[in-house]
């Protein structure tokens, strides 16, 4: 009887959790889709790092996505999935990825939505360039900005009136706030 109760208890606990709303965040895409599908041992895992890419951890995945969406995300935080290598490799017919088994269309659509939304939190590295990267966070003049992970090492004070900082395609850009 104990053999039966153990999994039944675990199942009932997990079933009480809230419904899945499939948020297209780096964390969700990595853990739910990229690790199981793209990071088996021989492929884009930390272990093998095929093509110098790994999706095995959030940080490695973020690093890979930054390269794979470069040029496809613009300063309005809108992305063009068709220009992103991350999307192209999933839908092309030759050398499609994952090579051993395609992703479900629904997962490809989720990744497309993520890129179209500007690939939030996977647009640049804090270490890129002299100017610090803010991710998708916006600061206005006079703010002492408290950076959130993974940009916690960045420190900045926005000094220019009427300006905001946005992170655009691997570098931080100071943009003018429209009246």
């Amino acid at each position: 009887m104990r053999f039966i109760l153990l999994p039944a208890l675990a199942i009932s606990v997990a079933a009480c959790a809230k419904d899945d709303d499939t948020p297209p965040s780096v964390e969700y895409l990595t853990e739910a889709i990229l690790i199981p599908s793209c990071a088996p041992a021989q492929c884009h895992s930390t272990f093998a790092q095929a093509e110098d890419l790994s999706f095995s951890t959030i940080e490695e995945s973020r690093d890979a996505i930054i390269d794979l969406v470069a040029g496809a995300v613009d300063e309005t935080d809108a992305g063009t999935p068709e220009n992103a290598q991350l999307y192209q490799v999933l839908v092309r017919t030759v050398d499609r990825m994952p090579f051993d088994q395609p992703l479900p269309n629904a997962d490809i659509a989720l990744i497309r939505e993520f890129i179209k939304g500007g690939a939030q939190h996977a647009q640049c590295r804090p270490s890129d360039g002299a100017r610090q990267c803010l991710g998708d966070q916006v600061a206005t003049c006079g703010d002492d900005f408290n950076f959130q992970p993974p940009f916690e090492d960045c420190k900045a004070r926005i000094a220019s009136p009427g300006m905001q900082w946005r992170c655009i395609s691997a570098e931080c850009v100071e943009i003018e706030v429209q009246p």
Binding site: P7, P23, A50, V94
Partner: protein
């Protein structure tokens, strides 16, 4: 095409790292330790395992290490596995491929109630670090056994090994392995305690992310597996695993079952897991997430005459059954021919479909595998 072949070789290399053949449990012996030194099965065979390797094969031959040409002292057991494969793959891009799968040597030294087991061999190399990542030791652990001269009792292991979980089939593309917590090369450092007897067995493993090399899996966690054998033909098991990564927790809870039908020389096996994930709610992932996965396998193994064994398997994986069209299903048909005590030829075939055709493109493969046990 050449790049595709290279990628494919990378994808499938190591595709058969030697786990046990659970098809032989109940059909040949009650426990994995009936034939293997390790309490989880797989790897080196014990004396009874060598006998069975000879008995099930078509042509027999001496089953010992190197056909008995090299005699080892009683405290030392040596072995190895070599596998390669060739065939046609359509996923759905069509390619012909030939690739190595496994080249590993095993050594087990027995010192009273203790054993030191080491598995070493070639591995998929790490891009831009090939020189330092050509060979490795996949498993190495110290084991204490309460009854060192028997195949039952208490086993305690410390070192690097695969957590004991599930059916433990050899074919790592099987969904219950790939998505079920025991994917290829997910061995890591841990501590395990087990009790094995003909009537029942239980295994508890605590594991950590490998701190020494760049690993496949970056999780810390624990796994439980218990199996009761109700008579000589039926075994029922329960399992639970918790894996914690930097941003989410994965759960695997499930049941296993095996039933042997002597009249048909048929072993039926099944495993069903409920595998939800719970994401941390953070500033970067404010919505969290809670996909509820299901993974299962049903496998029928027919023990045919003349050293043949036919496996017909069904697999199902849905990373979130609350969302539509994410499920994938497959049919595996594998024909094994145990030609000699050491040589096995396998035809591995698979047809896979996504949401029965409505979730994406279907695919499959047919691969001939050559497997030699030293």
């Amino acid at each position: 095409m050449s790049r595709a072949l290279l990628v494919l070789a990378i994808v499938l290399a190591g595709a058969g790292v030697a786990h046990a053949y659970p098809q032989f449990q109940l059909s040949i012996d009650q426990t994995c330790t009936g034939c293997h030194i390790s309490p989880s099965g797989g790897g080196l065979l014990n004396e009874n395992g060598l006998y069975n390797a000879e008995a099930i094969s078509t042509f027999g031959t001496a089953p010992e290490f190197l056909n008995g040409l090299v005699e080892t002292p009683s405290w030392l057991t040596l072995g190895g596995h070599f596998r390669g494969s060739t065939g046609f793959i359509s996923t759905p891009e069509k390619v012909l491929a030939t690739f190595p799968m496994q080249g590993e040597l095993y050594a087990s030294a027995k010192l009273g109630a203790f054993r030191v087991n080491v598995t070493g061999g070639i591995r998929p190399t790490q891009e831009d670090n090939r020189a330092a990542t050509t060979v490795w030791s996949r498993e190495h652990y110290v084991m204490w056994q309460s009854k060192p001269d028997e195949n039952e009792g208490i086993y305690v292991r410390a070192g690097r090994f695969m957590p004991v979980f599930g059916l433990r089939v050899a074919e790592h593309p099987t969904y219950v392995r790939r998505y079920g917590g025991t994917q290829l090369f997910s061995e890591t450092y841990g501590l395990s305690a087990a009790y094995v007897s003909p009537k029942w067995e239980a295994h508890a493993t605590a594991f950590i992310k490998d701190p020494l090399i760049d690993p496949v899996v970056h999780d810390n966690g624990g796994a439980l597996y218990a199996e009761a054998r109700l008579g000589e033909r039926l075994a029922l098991g329960v399992e639970g695993m918790v894996r914690r990564s930097d941003s989410a927790t994965r759960y695997h809870t499930g049941v296993t079952g095996k039933y042997y039908v002597p009249a048909a020389n048929l072993l039926l096996q099944a495993e069903l897991q409920y595998a939800p994930q719970t994401f941390d709610v953070t500033d970067l992932n404010p919505a969290g997430g809670n996909p509820r996965g299901i993974v299962g396998a049903l496998l029928a193994s027919f023990m045919l005459p003349r050293g043949l064994m036919l496996d017909v398997g069904l697999g199902h994986y849905d990373r979130n059954y609350k969302a539509p069209d994410l499920d994938r299903d497959n049919v595996d048909v594998n024909l094994h021919w145990f030609a000699t005590s050491h040589l096995e030829l396998v035809l591995n075939t698979r047809y896979e479909t996504l949401a029965f055709g409505s979730g994406g493109r279907s695919g499959g493969y047919a691969l001939f595998q050559l497997h030699y046990r030293l």
